[in-house]
Symmetry: C2
Subunit: 348 residues, 2 copies
């Protein structure tokens, strides 16, 4: 049984997905660990996953099991699925819907690497191309309203398998965090007559205090109200509501920048657990084209969300974003190959 | 520097509290651990904490360092503080306020125990009395709008010191999670003409599928849209918006019930990390008296919040609340002393 349930007392949605309890977990203490050797995401283990939905190679050759570089597969333990019959029920205890959706894994490399920082820029670019393609693929399903691309790296980041991978989950409704941003963006567009994200970029450029890096296409900054130590967002300089529409050259630069930021974060905390996700406009219609501005949010997982955070929805962050940005600007970039160091990094 | 910051793009509040980075952490790997022996919360170490704001003894004797049973102290690494001058600033990057508030620690025992389950019912009752007293104390400060009582138990629950303790954090605004519940409660009061929580209790009683335990005062249940495996809420049967107003005898029963529920959870998962918090009506005025229904939420920390949860605000729960309630009903209560087993537990 897998279903979406809404709590009427808080308007919170949850996915009840009992099949996920059976997932292997390489990060469990050895005593509790299920056997997951060899790694199902490594080259040669393609039969351990469902058949690929898409594969990518470096230079347009026909793809085989011997040469794929990025591989997209359905999640073997899906939270949501495309093949469920629709149903909906309401009662005083909550609203219920079939857990219709898509849940895919984007395997970022045939090699057993544990962080995006270990990939080449080209490999990250292929991964980001896969993100775009899968979002475009699933938005054709008119039962679905939104697709989230996200990455969980290392145990404290929520990864159960260590081989570097990202995921896509598409859902029938626009998730609450995204809906909150959309509502703010529309309200602020009404007040300012311009995109609030564009205005924020202008303000941040004026002081520079929270800017980590920038190039002709993007600005990376630690947001003023950062929830987590070293939280870093990447925003396109030019207004655009949809990540899916980013062209080839800016996507290359994005790949380089995100990898560089993760290298810098790992310089500050080695073996850092982190998440990132992409917030893009919801599917269907021209909505939010003027007000919303897609962006990628990277959150290191150094603090634990505990009773206060869960009970209030507030966050406590022991590292100010000004301090975080200063440290990230001066973090050594020694793991970034010099032939790709065209990227101009703001030094303090 | 400690301040409250609101992100204009999401309306999210964060507390930037750099002083908290210096906290000792008994749960860090030994290599990274700061020396925190002896435990500052044990009897005999009273000088390791700020002076007590309140102390409790079992039977009305004058309190000394030698006989306290529950001890309330200001947090040594506060997220918010009562002694800050007020200020407020607004800009395109966010809203800022002084981090005015209260942050206290309620030490639940003079002995070095690591979970509420190790306490006697009487000791839990003293702890809950302290919760009420400190909420009443801080609501006299008219700069503050809300006080959250919460508990972090064990490392994955976010505790940095293992000695069993709870905390109070009071803030100048009503936290977003509570505001969300209040908005739902008001809306549903409008639709039903009655409290939505009372209606939910009636519906849950009709099936019994998610009920874990009940007595003349309380119902403990796994909510229909549980975010976490074995999430359990305790609600008073009779409508009441404020936890602070619970009388002595129902408070005794609550103490017994919460301790019993934690014993049961620990029967299912030994050394379980968990949080609980109390949601009560905001301070000041008669607001929400009809619509809101105070309750205590217990959340075991068996799953990790990862990129999907943080990026969407949705939760994925691999144990259905029906399954959780069934297991909790049949969990052995052997750690519950028989002289306190008056409490009637619904067996499956």
């Amino acid at each position: 049984m897998s279903e979406l349930r809404r709590d009427p007392l808080s308007d919170r949605w949850v996915v009840i997905a009992e099949n996920r309890a059976g997932r292997p977990d390489q990060y469990q203490p050895a005593s509790a660990r299920r056997i997951v050797a060899p790694c199902p995401f490594c080259r040669g283990q393609e039969r351990e996953t469902p058949p690929a939905a898409a594969t990518y190679v470096a230079d347009g050759q026909p793809t085989t099991d011997a040469n794929w570089q990025v591989r997209v597969v359905p999640n073997k333990y899906p939270a949501v699925r495309a093949d469920l019959p629709a149903y909906q029920a309401d009662s005083a205890v909550g609203e219920t819907r079939a857990a219709i959706g898509a849940h895919e894994v984007i395997i970022e490399s045939p090699q057993h690497l544990v962080s995006l920082s270990g990939l080449s820029d080209r490999q990250v670019e292929l991964t980001f191309t896969a993100y775009q393609d899968r979002l475009v693929y699933w938005q054709r399903d008119d039962r679905l309203a939104y697709g989230l691309i996200f990455k969980n790296a290392r145990a404290a980041g929520g990864a159960s398998l260590e081989h570097t991978h990202s995921q896509l989950i598409a859902t029938p409704s626009v998730p609450s965090e995204v809906a909150r941003e959309l509502a703010c963006a529309e309200r602020l567009l009404g007040s300012y007559g311009a995109c609030a994200f564009c205005r924020l970029l202008d303000e941040e450029a004026a002081t520079g205090a929270r800017i980590v890096a920038e190039d002709e296409h993007y600005v990376a900054l630690c947001p003023y109200a950062s929830r987590f130590p070293y939280e870093t967002w990447v925003l396109p300089r030019r207004h655009a509501s949809r990540f899916e529409d980013v062209g080839r050259q800016p996507l290359q630069r994005l790949a380089h920048l995100v990898r560089e930021l993760i290298c810098r974060l790992e310089q500050i905390v080695s073996e850092l657990a982190y998440n990132y996700w992409i917030h893009t406009a919801p599917w269907g219609g021209e909505n939010y084209q003027r007000s919303y501005h897609w962006h990628l949010e990277i959150v290191p997982r150094l603090t634990r969300m505990a009773g206060f955070e869960l009970g209030t929805g507030y966050f406590i962050n022991p590292v100010s974003p000004e301090q975080a940005a200063r440290r990230l600007r001066s973090a050594s970039d020694e793991r970034i190959p010099s032939d790709e160091a065209k990227f101009s990094v703001q030094k303090n």
